[in-house]
Subunit: 426 residues, 4 copies
């Protein structure tokens, strides 16, 4: 249910601020410019090419989304050098696409990042903030956000976390209340990770944020409560791309046909920075948790113990440099049917992580901005379509079924479309 607040129009410029200006962020930015130049369609973007449910009307026309021409891109990174340098290093774009985007990417230079080696072991860089306490780091980030908006004449901003996966953290006392968290910031509590500091800063700056990585961040209770109190929209977590996307496509089909599943073995090989980061067991554990959770809610072992009660689910991620950014998954699925007879499905997905993630960044930026303008603070469950570990406000069990998630997205878009047409209160 939407609050009765009217929807502010999408006038003026919108800053899209990304912690992590690496492969995903630069591919996203280069693509937006290519779309603006008419060189490509916004492939994979529901916001720009999707239709309202049961209708020929574009979502973009039915709701009041920001125009691509109003987007201004910025962010933080531990590496120096422009986004052109970062894109070149990432080696996602073809030479000719990279050159066409050169001018636009060269203009963007990352602000100094909040970074802690303890949370991301296998990379390091020079472009890092320092301050006596985490509270002051947060203040610096708030100042960065406000400064960027002022410098670029932006009326609004939105954030999308595109940085590396942090190590696995078990939520503890310091994460449970706003007070404890703010005390922790001031006292430099070790359990407050950089991504939590970013989230805190975004909320304090009144800017909505989506978390594209699996680490604990937007989803600690303290920050969820703070976002609700401040009326700031949050969404998370972990972009649903690659192998997990395939899982949430396939598993609903097995469930629909009541086909049994005895085992699901998944291995991933990837050679980009993400792979290097996940080669650290701490970061891997964070990712593994996110990837393992998706089957349970779709293949319901309680209702169908005979089909899903004995399911061995294994997920492997291996850093394999020859693959570069072209993440590859191999799945072996052991299913069974009539009389319990076994069958096997093998899926080899030669995917490109950044190519699959980029349109999600775009949609999340546009939809989060819409949510914020509609007065809808707190966790945006309706955006679960985009995430491996959909964040809910704690009472609802998250849905992983891609088609159920799409229904939820569609329902909310219909409400937002109605709201968009409502006369302004004043």
């Amino acid at each position: 249910m939407l609050s009765q607040a009217t929807q502010r129009p999408a006038d003026g410029k919108l800053a899209v601020l990304m912690p992590g200006l690496g492969a995903v962020a630069t591919t996203f930015i280069a693509g937006v410019h290519a779309i603006q130049r008419g060189e490509t369609a916004p492939i994979g973007s529901l916001a720009l090419t999707g239709r309202m449910p049961g209708s020929e009307t574009l979502i973009h026309d039915a709701t009041s989304l920001a125009s691509l021409d109003d987007l201004v891109f910025g962010g933080w990174d531990i590496y120096e050098g422009s986004c052109y340098d970062a894109a070149k290093r990432a080696n996602v774009l073809r030479e000719s696409d990279l050159e066409r985007a050169r001018e636009e990417l060269s203009k963007i230079t990352p602000m100094a990042a909040v970074f802690e080696q303890e949370y991301v072991r296998n990379i390091s860089g020079p472009n890092v903030k320092s301050a006596p306490t985490k509270a002051e780091l947060a203040e610096q980030l708030v100042a960065d956000i406000r400064g960027f908006m002022a410098d670029n004449g932006c009326d609004r901003a939105v954030g999308v976390w595109c940085a590396s996966t942090e190590r696995f953290v078990v939520p503890s006392e310091v994460h449970l209340s706003i007070e404890a968290f703010e005390k922790g910031l001031r006292e430099d509590h070790p359990a407050i990770s950089p991504s939590m500091i970013y989230t805190y800063a975004f909320i304090k700056a009144g800017v909505p944020l989506a978390n594209g990585a699996p680490n604990l961040a937007c989803d600690v209770p303290a920050l969820v409560m703070l976002a609700k109190r401040e009326g700031v929209a949050l969404a998370g977590k972990d972009f649903k791309t690659g192998q997990t996307l395939m899982k949430t496509l396939l598993a609903p089909g097995f469930a629909a046909r009541l086909i049994g599943v005895r085992g699901w073995y998944s291995t991933n090989i990837l050679g980009n920075t993400d792979g290097a980061v996940l080669d650290d067991p701490g970061s891997f554990r964070t990712k593994e948790q996110s990837k393992l959770s998706v089957l349970e809610s779709i293949l319901d072992a309680e209702t169908h113990p005979e089909l899903y009660g004995n399911l061995d689910h294994k997920v492997r991620i291996d850093y394999y440099p020859p693959r570069g950014d072209n993440k590859e998954g191999w799945d072996n699925i052991d299913i069974f049917g009539w009389l319990g007879y076994p069958m096997q499905i093998k899926i080899n997905f030669l995917c490109r992580d950044s190519i699959l993630a980029a349109p999600l960044v775009l949609d999340l930026a546009l939809f989060l901005d819409l949510a914020q303008r509609s007065g809808s603070g707190g966790v945006q469950e309706w955006l679960s379509f985009y995430f491996k570990s959909p964040q809910t406000d704690g009472e609802v069990i998250p849905t992983h079924d891609l088609f159920a998630q799409l229904d939820i997205l569609h329902d909310r878009l219909e409400e937002l479309a109605v709201q968009a047409m409502a006369p302004a209160a004043e």
Copy 2:
């Protein structure tokens, strides 16, 4: 919308009559007995283990389906020998499962089949009817159905075509009206295939029929009109198993995420009788048409020409004896995302045709009987969930999306559940 006729209860015995007592039919029969003996769950059967939408109530409890204990199995085949012999030849069941089913399968001997070599080139058998005209063959089948019901004390019957795929037939004059068709029967028109003669006979006997093969049969206009006039339920066509099932699982996901598809190459290897039959180009063409049609309606090239307007879709079926009944599919899917960058998905499905088809036979038998008892004659579009080429009554464009099909199935089951609870009119 259901007709106002009340639903007759599922009392008494129900004959399940199958043209084609080969791998699929015998696996189905053996499985039903194993379920009755409590050795296995009815895996893959929505009718017996599925739930009403959004509810914990079993479909079986909410609607008035026939009990397994009331089913009596029979059918026709060109081969002599009992279903035990046929099951042994089919080599689907494990030795121990075959032996456990021996007694039940040995009791069932096929009635002589209506068969024409011209329609199925690569097999032949001795157990075949002969008669001066196709009209008389149809009369013999009607007599078979009635005789079987009388001999076995059955109140009702239902038919499921489990026989081989016939050659490709272009619908012509003789198929367009009831009169032309009946004249054709009397004059032995070559364009009237055995499967059409069976369909005609089932309708004349007042017995509903599902078509598990892709050949033109239940779906010629003359027979659709006849079924409507006589109030007999029909459903078709081509069991949705294996590779095509996977397609209709995956394609809706690509469409949901607006991922482009540039090509889809599918090859199948199979070594059973079905494979031998499809090694004949005429039968293959029938199957190919059925398999090729599924993508178009899901990946909508009109709404999204930039995503699906240039899709190369190829389907191959190869007879490869080493595979036996274990049909195997290999799919290569060329998708593309952001900036048009290509990715690839390869799927290797080591499936078992008869294992996937058997629960469909069960569900179709139970649901068609329910439809018939509910006074619902003509084409049962709500059973499209089970078919590669869903038959509609001609005005509706068939849906191939597995999840959309499930919604339709669920909607009708809710209506039928309501009807089941209604007090009888008298």
Copy 3:
């Protein structure tokens, strides 16, 4: 055994003349220039990077091969435009590699081809010779060869067929003797294909020729006899790349371990001109014959009927435009071991046809020139290592085992190395 003739030294320029200046030829030429510029190693070339058996000496140093700097490239094609245009159309090279090769490729323009639509159905082009008889076409080709050598100051020449696969031809009377063949040329006999006219012309010009395609050409008796009489070296046929290369790698291993093989199913998808040509059943049949033959000689059913006596071998080639030049193979191999228990191997080869073929063109050009300078006319069986259907002089059964072929190649190279060191007779 080598003839006693001494080996002429590799002095002066060597024309490398290719019927078919398409994907393979242009990739080969661009690569040679990149090697000369020091940008890449000659990957895949035994001639340039291989070692003499059991030694650290390079084959190149032990034998007297032509220097890359002495090669001059030319050829014939049905398309007009330079090799730069052809390479661009072929879409094998990366943009940057293509641009680096631009100058060199732009200089080469194809001579008008001998072409007959009847032999290659699915392509056509404007750059085609015409003449009253096939004999006169052959004379034009001889004049082309001599003219090219004179214009470019070449002392020697060598030919490598890099053009499309012609339709399947059954050898007939006209192919059996030199007289019949020459009479056929004069009388425009329809069973004399363009590739045979080229072969005839090369032999008459005293220039050795290798056949990279599977069609009947160098291997008709008339041309074999002619080559022997004229002392011209021939080698063929059908470059061993991709799936067949994998087969001749794997099968010797199965044979070594005495593992049984029950079936081998191979499918190929490719989208280049080669694919379009093979979409014609006549050309496919030629290719299929070549591909099917390789297993029999390695998996010896006579010695081991229990292992290889019941082997189903199927080969499919499908034209699938999304794949472009990146030919892809999928193999399913059904093996069996102890107690006859079955196992399966699936191989998915994402290969690049022209990348695999280019170093073979180089090696064949260098080795054929060496053979010719060594006085070794007729069929060069020792080059079977490079071919799917190794041509022999008729008495020897061809070897397909890659490792046996390598032994033969090594043995001859040792003889040629000895000969290279021998003092000149004069």
Copy 4:
């Protein structure tokens, strides 16, 4: 070079004693009986069905191998119950094959095993020897061997290690000399593993032994020296089956064609006891070392740094219960060719570990017995064909190329065949 000692004939019964009477051993025994009953050929056995090189003569006829009828089977295991129980638990054999072997398998009961939990973490069983020191355990094993031979009227014996993989052990002081080792036995040194105790006992009993697992055993210097001194034949280690077999088939082909290899990623899933054992990191490390070593010697980075100098080789083994004994491997191989352009090969091997290993047990038993009768003590390098980590006597670098290994095997068989024909010295 063979010693001048004459070859003792293969008269009398031969005990085949296996530490580990599990899946491999019982499959081997059942198969030998099936061969004797004429139900199957000895598939995969070079000893019984292979030919002498370049000849039609069977190896079996050219050399003096023991007859199958003279073999008597026995061994040790930590589980109680007969080999029939073990085979049933292993679930390798089909029901009917198991039943046919019931009588023979039921007769064989394992002797109590030497076992130490520290070396194999994930399994345990009741049938275990205890003694105050490892020296006394060794004495018990010698007594077992002699007792078995006496009870069964055997003239000779041979051992094949078919038990689980022990944890990774770094060779230390205690393994370096016979004296240190024997002292270690008496003092219960923790670095002396059960497999070393078995090896010591076999040598002391004068019985040759092959090691089918990757753990350090036959190959510690102390035992190699002892075997040499006592004139007892040893061979090891780690049966070459499955994925590694495929590697040593494929890699020689890449090397032959000078195709570059940039990466090789291998994952294995298996669900049998072997998998459970390897789920322990210590045992996995042992196996990983064995699996990783094979590429280096075949893909020679010193001679060809441009092709093999930058090769990322990863090996994964995952315990995945749904797979049972049907071990499955997935390999991704990143190769490159002309101009450095990349290509990919994916191999999915659905193999059966015990089916591939059983004929190796047979060959090793027969060939080791032959070696022993020929007076050839110490490490049998000529049997490297059968092992992932071929054991050499320390001076020779082991060969992994399957075809080079076959040449070595053939050469020695020719020597042994000559020796077999020599008149006895006396």
